[in-house]
């Protein structure tokens, strides 16, 4: 396991505290995160001292005015207490602006390094077959950025996703596009991801392939245990507030019996963080999918991501009061799917997901996005001009789409 790099000297106190807090569990960071910090420190190291002073000077000045010192921001500590301190400080907007200014100068340099080592990437976002919308009402917030492509949907709807993602019927057990990438020259651990509400994408393809996979449905045992534990903590009233609760929640790690990600400490911690720090991720399948995807992009920078949304259930009476209870146990009324509500939810999530990928240099000029409705006769492609599907007349058989995806990724 590589050792934590040393923080450069002379950083502003809040900047140093935040950075060292982010790095303190170095062994639990994804390779992309470690690479970022290493490149950042190398950049600062090779930058002339006068320029570094010029870069951080405004933030230091604001920190003085805010009362930021070693006491309020102890080394390696950036907890809710520090966040709270910043939020409540009258100079907080100036602090934010100064930090943004620093990254506005650093990021172009770091981004250019990333862009030089770039390769083609692929994001497939799958809407569930139960969605009550036809292609004319899909992807309304982003459709102007791409092109709708007609495809031949198979008569057997169960074959749609296998044909799209493996090029073969399900029974063939052929490797998925993500599995092929993970085994290829740009592949490796954490490069190919599946995040889904149900369990339709993860079982596709060859077993035991090196694809990182999170399923809201498959994590049910862990989710239910977490909800029970949180409920107990709240009821015991031993934790006076969110800060203390946050500290307790950090101890609730996934057990081996609750999911295969428990075997990998990085993925185990990612699962815990997703379920306990992302507001509704314990409660709503699609919130889990969206937040897990955003965090995967921010932290792991996957090269291939297949994201599967589902249909969320209707909210039962009083469920907002029973956040951490099992809704099926507390209310005998059968759960009902909220297909219309899910449609509305997903329309904004398509935008958020596309935006999040596009924030990072790894994705900007070389990523093809396919927005797909399971069983739908059209899909939306948002991609660079050289993405082959954009120039291919449809309707296309799904194995042909798969072939183009393979060509795009060079696998």
């Amino acid at each position: 396991m590589p050792s934590t790099p040393k923080l450069p000297d002379g950083l502003p106190i809040s900047f140093a505290a935040f950075t060292s807090d982010q790095m303190k569990d170095w062994g639990l960071l994804f390779p992309a995160e470690r690479s970022y910090f290493e490149r950042l420190f190398k950049l600062l190291d090779r930058t002339p001292l006068a320029e570094v002073d010029d870069l951080f000077g405004p933030l230091r000045e604001i920190e003085r005015g805010m009362g930021i010192d070693e006491k309020t921001f102890p080394k390696s500590q950036f907890t809710l207490a520090q966040v709270d301190f910043l939020n409540r400080n009258p100079h907080y907007p100036e602090w934010r602006a100064a930090v943004a200014q620093i990254f506005a100068r650093l990021d172009p340099v770091l981004d250019s390094e990333v862009a030089r080592a770039g390769h083609a990437r692929l994001v497939v976002v799958v809407a569930p077959s139960d969605l009550p919308a036809d292609p004319d009402r899909m992807w309304m917030r982003i459709r102007q950025r791409g092109k709708r492509i007609a495809v031949d949907a198979p008569e057997n709807g169960n074959e749609f996703l296998p044909l799209l993602l493996t090029g073969k019927p399900r029974s063939a057990g052929a490797p998925t596009i993500g599995q092929l990438f993970a085994a290829g020259k740009h592949g490796g651990p954490y490069t190919s991801w599946i995040v889904e509400a149900g369990s339709t994408l993860s079982p596709l393809g060859a077993p035991a392939a090196a694809v990182t996979s999170y399923s809201y449905e498959a994590l049910a045992p862990y989710r239910k245990r977490l909800m029970g534990e949180v409920q107990k903590i709240v009821e015991a009233q031993e934790t006076p507030g969110p800060r203390q609760l946050s500290a307790r929640l950090k101890q609730l790690k996934i057990l081996a019996s609750e999911g295969s990600v428990a075997k990998d400490p990085i993925l185990a911690e990612f699962a815990r963080a997703i379920l306990l720090s992302g507001n509704g991720t314990l409660l709503i399948n699609n919130t889990f999918v969206e937040w897990a995807t955003l965090q995967a992009v921010r932290r792991a920078r996957p090269s291939v991501a297949v994201i599967g949304f589902g249909i969320r259930n209707k909210v039962k009476p009083f469920s907002s009061l029973l956040i951490y209870e099992d809704q099926d146990a507390t209310n005998p009324i059968p759960s009902q799917m909220d297909t219309l509500g899910s449609y509305v939810d997903l329309e904004i999530f398509y935008q958020y997901i596309w935006q999040e990928f596009q924030k990072y240099a790894e994705y900007r000029a070389n990523t093809a996005y396919l927005f797909v409705g399971d069983g739908m006769e059209e899909m939306l492609a948002v991609a660079p001009p050289d993405f082959p599907l954009l120039a291919t007349p449809g309707p296309l058989p799904l194995p042909a789409v798969f072939g183009h995806l393979k060509d795009w990724l060079g696998v």
């Binding site: 006076p240 507030g241 699609n286 009061l321 209310n331 509305v344």
Partner: protein, 384 residues
């Protein structure tokens, strides 16, 4: 089963009739003398963005407010320049100073609240100022840290949803066959909670000790009965907030109220459709509150209602996670609106930016009291 009585049903029906047959009095009627004025502050707590409300694409979510806008004065830009947490945002509204106290309500607002200034200067009694809210942290919203004022002059703070929470959790623990779908069971437990230990759920009814004042208790029970036995399954904490507020208005006729609706904070769960539904529900309940003002002789023609979002929420572009959160400090978080209705409010619209802290100064002016040393300034458009 203490079901809805015929009389109460007729009252409910009567409300909808009054909406159609009573003329609108607000625009034409001048303000009554300041000594009689009443002020109701209605906040879209939890936060709502312009884009889902008064932006062109959001108007369909708020049909009642859109309909009321021409009757009142609309401030197109009401800015929350303070800390973007719930407690600090609302505390800034009720104190007139940008608050930087504990985000989770573990400290009272710094300085004095409007409630205290009002009661101290007018000699108003303890039933004359109320806060009806949802979030438990708002238990400290009734009075501030100014030792010269404080609790003796504070507002009653009622947190109906906390009461409901207690009752529903009890029902779940008892394992009743119908679970929380059994409304009778929930109601019985609600009444039980009112009989014992209400202090633990955030109530600060003016009478100390463990027993609620009988009149207050009966008033609250009426609100609860209407809520539990309403025509639709009771899913919303804000509906309970509305029913309790209306009962308080009918029974005690307070001159100053803060009503903090909260359902839209469901946005944190990450469901855009639930967030939109909550906005529309709050719009409907705010409209019903206005109907009550118009129908209730104690309020009609002498009440100014100031409606505003507590804060916005993060914008869709380049924010941490868009509508789910409200801490980015971007314009979508800070730029909100304010709609004034009722007595002494000239019809019109104002473009100049006003601020959340101006609300306390304005309300003080409407009530004929001095706001003290505060950052906010009265909205001159409303104090002609």
């Amino acid at each position: 089963m203490p079901g809805i009585s015929k009389r109460r049903f007729l009252q409910l029906a009567g409300l909808s009739i009054s909406d159609r047959i009573l003329p609108s009095l607000s625009a034409a009627e001048p303000a009554a003398s300041r000594a009689d004025n009443k002020v109701i502050l209605v906040t879209f707590g939890g936060g709502v963005r312009y884009s889902e409300t008064f932006a062109p694409e959001g108007l369909h979510n708020i049909p009642r407010l859109v309909g009321l806008r021409p009757q009142g004065h609309f401030f197109r830009s009401c800015i929350n320049a303070g800390v973007l947490s719930h407690f600090n945002s609302t505390a800034s509204i009720v104190t007139g100073n940008w608050q930087r106290v504990d985000d989770f309500g573990f400290q009272p607002p710094a300085g004095a609240t409007l409630f205290e200034q009002f009661r101290k200067q007018t000699g108003a009694g303890p039933l004359d100022a109320w806060t009806v809210a949802t979030n438990k942290s708002f238990a400290n919203m009734g009075w501030g840290s100014d030792r010269a004022l404080g609790q003796p002059y504070g507002a009653n703070v009622v947190l109906p949803k906390q009461l409901l929470l207690e009752a529903v959790q009890d029902v779940v623990k008892q394992g009743s066959a119908g679970g929380v779908a059994d409304r009778d069971s929930v109601l019985r437990r609600l009444e039980g909670v009112l009989d014992s230990g209400y202090e633990g759920i955030g109530w600060t009814i003016f009478q100390g000790g463990r027993k609620l004042d009988r009149q207050v208790r009966e008033t609250l029970i009426r609100g609860l009965v209407e809520y539990i036995n309403g025509p639709e399954a009771p899913t919303s904490g804000d509906e309970l907030t509305f029913f309790i507020t209306r009962e308080i208005m009918r029974e005690f006729k307070p001159r100053l109220m803060l009503v903090n609706f909260w359902d839209m904070d469901v946005a944190h769960w990450g469901s855009y459709s639930l967030y939109l539904n909550a906005i529309t529900r709050t719009d409907r309940l705010t409209g019903m509150l206005w109907d009550e003002v118009e129908a209730n002789p104690a309020y009609r023609g002498k009440t100014t209602v100031l409606i505003l979002p507590e804060l916005g929420r993060d914008g869709d572009i380049n924010a941490a996670n868009g509508f789910l959160n409200h801490r980015s400090g971007d314009p979508s978080c800070r730029n909100t609106w304010l709609l004034a209705l009722g007595a002494g409010v000239p019809r019109g619209e104002t473009d100049r930016p006003v601020h959340h802290v101006d609300v306390a100064a304005t309300a003080a002016g409407l009530l004929g009291v001095k706001a003290g040393e505060i950052a906010g300034v009265p909205l001159r458009e409303l104090l002609l």
